[in-house]
Symmetry: C2
Subunit: 351 residues, 2 copies
């Protein structure tokens, strides 16, 4: 009854839409057969070939909106990170994007600006325009996350909640390696600069710090440092008052802030103070001296999460019996650069 705008500009510049019916006519089959051929339904391989050929000849592109209207799916995936400006999360994004790009699935990325109020709304909004969500280091509590996961396919990064698939790095192990490294260098008193108290990552790393007691390293905790460069600048002075000869920071950003502050105060790293970060962001290689840090394959965190989500979606479509939620733990490894050295006391002993 009325003219609809027909989109899709061809190379010749004229504007035509080729629909599933055009392909059907060209291939001499019905529209449903075309649909089946395109979406992997039961078609004889001969007709499938004919159809694919016709589609290619006509330059057919399925209309996402139309498909979405019938299937209820959007074809898009969503990813939520605390802060786009944090290079750690940027790498996670790249990992997820790498996986979705190969399937030509649109990826919606949002950040919450580290604000948990925003997190709720953003998730709801993302949910409505995607088929599944990857939540990176979410702030919400377990109950809220369970609720969110009930709303649709969900994969967690750096967070573990019963019943929800997740990918995490082995932070506890990473921190333990850091502690052992320091212990081997003769340090007996190290300050730990804690991250956000409510974060799962903080709890995991904190757990690793517990190793100190059993290997003769006294750990002094400095609570609730903002996981930023400025947080580190602030924390450096506090750490200095503890009598520690080494510092383990919640993340690299904090460590870099510490390094900057110590340098400004004329305290030599690593001669007078050793320093270890966490995450191995690119910047960690750029500092002077290069930062010793717990390295995590951040990109892989992203690709793995995307993989898990895709698997979830496939299982969903096949109405497969719900298997237990996959829980992948990626290894951590301490990368020793130049901010760690023998403890000053040990050095005396050495000379």
């Amino acid at each position: 009854v009325f003219r609809y705008r027909r989109a899709e500009t061809t190379d010749e510049g004229d504007t035509v839409t080729v629909t599933i019916h055009d392909v059907a006519r060209e291939a001499g089959v019905s529209a449903s057969t075309v649909s089946r051929a395109m979406t992997g339904g039961t078609v004889s391989s001969a007709t499938r070939a004919t159809v694919m050929d016709a589609a290619a000849r006509l330059g057919y592109r399925p209309n996402r909106a139309a498909r979405g209207l019938t299937t209820g799916r959007t074809g898009a995936l969503g990813l939520l990170v605390p802060d786009l400006g944090n290079p750690y999360f940027a790498e996670v994004i790249k990992g997820v994007a790498a996986r979705t790009r190969t399937r030509d699935q649109p990826l919606l990325v949002s950040d919450t600006d580290e604000d948990s109020g925003l997190e709720r709304d953003t998730i709801a909004s993302l949910r409505r325009s995607t088929d599944g969500l990857v939540l990176c280091s979410p702030r919400a509590d377990d109950a809220a996350l369970a609720e969110i996961a009930r709303g649709g396919p969900t994969v967690l990064i750096n967070r573990r909640v019963d019943g929800i698939p997740s990918v995490t790095s082995n932070m506890t192990d990473g921190v333990e390696q850091a502690l052992r490294h320091l212990s081997a260098l003769g340090h007996t008193r190290v300050a730990y600069l804690c991250g956000p108290a409510d974060s799962w990552a903080e709890r995991s790393r904190s757990e690793g710090m517990a190793l100190g007691a059993s290997i003769g390293v006294e750990v002094v905790r400095i609570p609730a440092i903002a996981p930023t460069f400025d947080g580190g600048v602030y924390a450096a002075d506090l750490a200095l008052t503890t009598g520690a000869t080494a510092i383990i920071a919640f993340n690299d950003l904090i460590a870099l802030g510490v390094l900057n502050r110590l340098t400004s105060r004329g305290i030599s790293v690593p001669a007078e103070m050793s320093l270890i970060g966490h995450d191995d962001i690119e910047m960690a290689t750029m500092s002077h001296p290069g930062l010793t840090t717990v390295s995590v394959s951040t990109v892989k965190l992203g690709t793995t999460a995307a993989e898990l989500l895709l698997r979830l979606l496939a299982a969903d479509r096949a109405d497969a019996g719900h298997e237990p939620a996959a829980t992948v733990v990626l290894p951590s490894a301490l990368v020793v650069r130049r901010t760690t050295d023998l403890a000053p006391t040990a050095q005396h002993g050495r000379s």
Copy 2:
């Protein structure tokens, strides 16, 4: 003839979809009236109120796919940046996202990994799932961009092409300020670390460097430095061979690399070598010493571009006569921190 999955989980946990017809019934009007009320059509303010009320009561959310099917619009916007890991672009993203968030429009973000081959494909893919695109520092040549812009509403960031709306920062002016600052400090020979030769940003900044000739500053160009930290590390040694007493880098990342390398080689910044970056990324404040740099309101670049794009879309819908493409130029300002000081020669003169 068959059961469709009805989505939308309510607070009670049961799964119901409320459609425009439900609202129509509740409000005692026809579906078309509801549609008009929701989309700003001609409705009496009384019925509009009734409809909005009914919609709110029922918790009605328009189905994006259905709307898209009839209108040909997706409601989403796209943004393409060269590299998600570059903090400069991260801020641009935040700017765009801030604007789209208020309208609850999904934002699709992709990066090209600084690869111009990927750029073409990614743009095509983004185009199909969005109503309009913001292209940040695109690598494609003018003709290709004109072609892309013909494919749908497009706004450029840090690039100017005839007929396409754009937002840029005044890089030429920024670089001129840098040069004047150096001149005032007595520098007479400065090395300029060029960015990618084919980039618009490089041409703009290069233009600013031309000022040197007229204010008695000799400029030595070092061509085609990768716009990364490592690029800077590499360039530092080259710059040292030129006899320059100051360096202006294409961007902060390069400058930070230079700073790192100079520090490693035991060359004091700024005593022996002054250094200026460009962009004023957050990291520039974190270096030691703090980096003197050309500051650009990166977030505003993003919000302005989003604003322009939204305006374009609105005009499109209203079939408004095409006005000339808007070209917004945001100011630049030199931020003097601690990497610039009197030229060594001038210092001698001073003592």
